[in-house]
Subunit: 205 residues, 2 copies
Amino acid sequence: MEYYSKQIGNLIGALSRLPGIGNKTAQRLAFHILAMPPKDVRELANAMTDARENVKCCRECMTLTDDELCPICSNAKRNHKQIMVVENSRDLAAYEKTGKYTGVYHVLHGAISPLNGVGPGDIRLKELMSRLSRLDEDDDEVKTEVIVATGSDLEGETTAMYISKLVKPTGIKVTRIASGVPVGGDIEYIDEVTLLRALEGRTEL
Amino acid sequence: MEYYSKQIGNLIGALSRLPGIGNKTAQRLAFHILAMPPKDVRELANAMTDARENVKCCRECMTLTDDELCPICSNAKRNHKQIMVVENSRDLAAYEKTGKYTGVYHVLHGAISPLNGVGPGDIRLKELMSRLSRLDEDDDEVKTEVIVATGSDLEGETTAMYISKLVKPTGIKVTRIASGVPVGGDIEYIDEVTLLRALEGRTEL
């Protein structure tokens, strides 16, 4: 890239290392940034460094946040006895966007994947168990429920199975989100495994 | 986005204001940045602010660069009498990637577009003319050539026409890059205007 001067080349190089950003997109972004008001560029740069430097895991649910407790865990209106276990903070955001879930979350930061060398000890299962044992202590009439919302791929299913084996002996209710035909999905284009799951998980009308 | 803490929300917001980056992509990028080593994040942020703060137009060809002269204009091996006029620095890079062009460039930073309120005075035509008059002064046997490589859309064509009218009276040779069927293009899928251009611009074999 000798046809770009050093700093412009650096910027394009740094941008193209981001996921899903190829060389062409990096160029377009770089020239957009070069045309932005310097104030906006500083804001963007600061947003990056600030977020990166202050990011930590929520003390309760392990999601990425910049406080001790994330906005959801610190919300008294949420049902803190209903815990949805998700693989990452983006999955949490996806469920939050539905606007209907009133419980809290637990973010595993991954899924068990022996092929990739990710074992049960590498994701935040220990934190989930200690959180559940703390919930168990304060006995009241509301029952704790763990909703396993890991993905429906091999890793997600393995993780779900593992969590169920781990949690069930404690007497806490464990549920799994339904797997089936997505809304608006055309039956003829859906894979066999999903169709079988939809059949197995049928509900009475 | 109350389900993201303030700084993560800021980062996603700042990223999603970049062109071609929607909310989903911004989220993915943000979580990638949060997982990057802090040093790399600082490097990326510095690459942005440094490039933005030091960017200027090359004294000769007006391309964006961080020195007085861009790497191409300061290269003595290039033919400084052959000037390719392009709309922006990305178009320059596209021609540089061919590796075959040995002349220099002139970057207009736009194209004449009356509909968008861009007139001849808004692009770097004045700089092109003063550059040509300077070249004209040192009379030697090598003739100056202006290759107009603006786009083949309405704005690009208008600009090419305007440049030709401006430069021709000075006696300098003006050429226009060929318009026609792209290499690998399937004739049946190419629009009529391009096909007509290809016919008009036919060359003897």
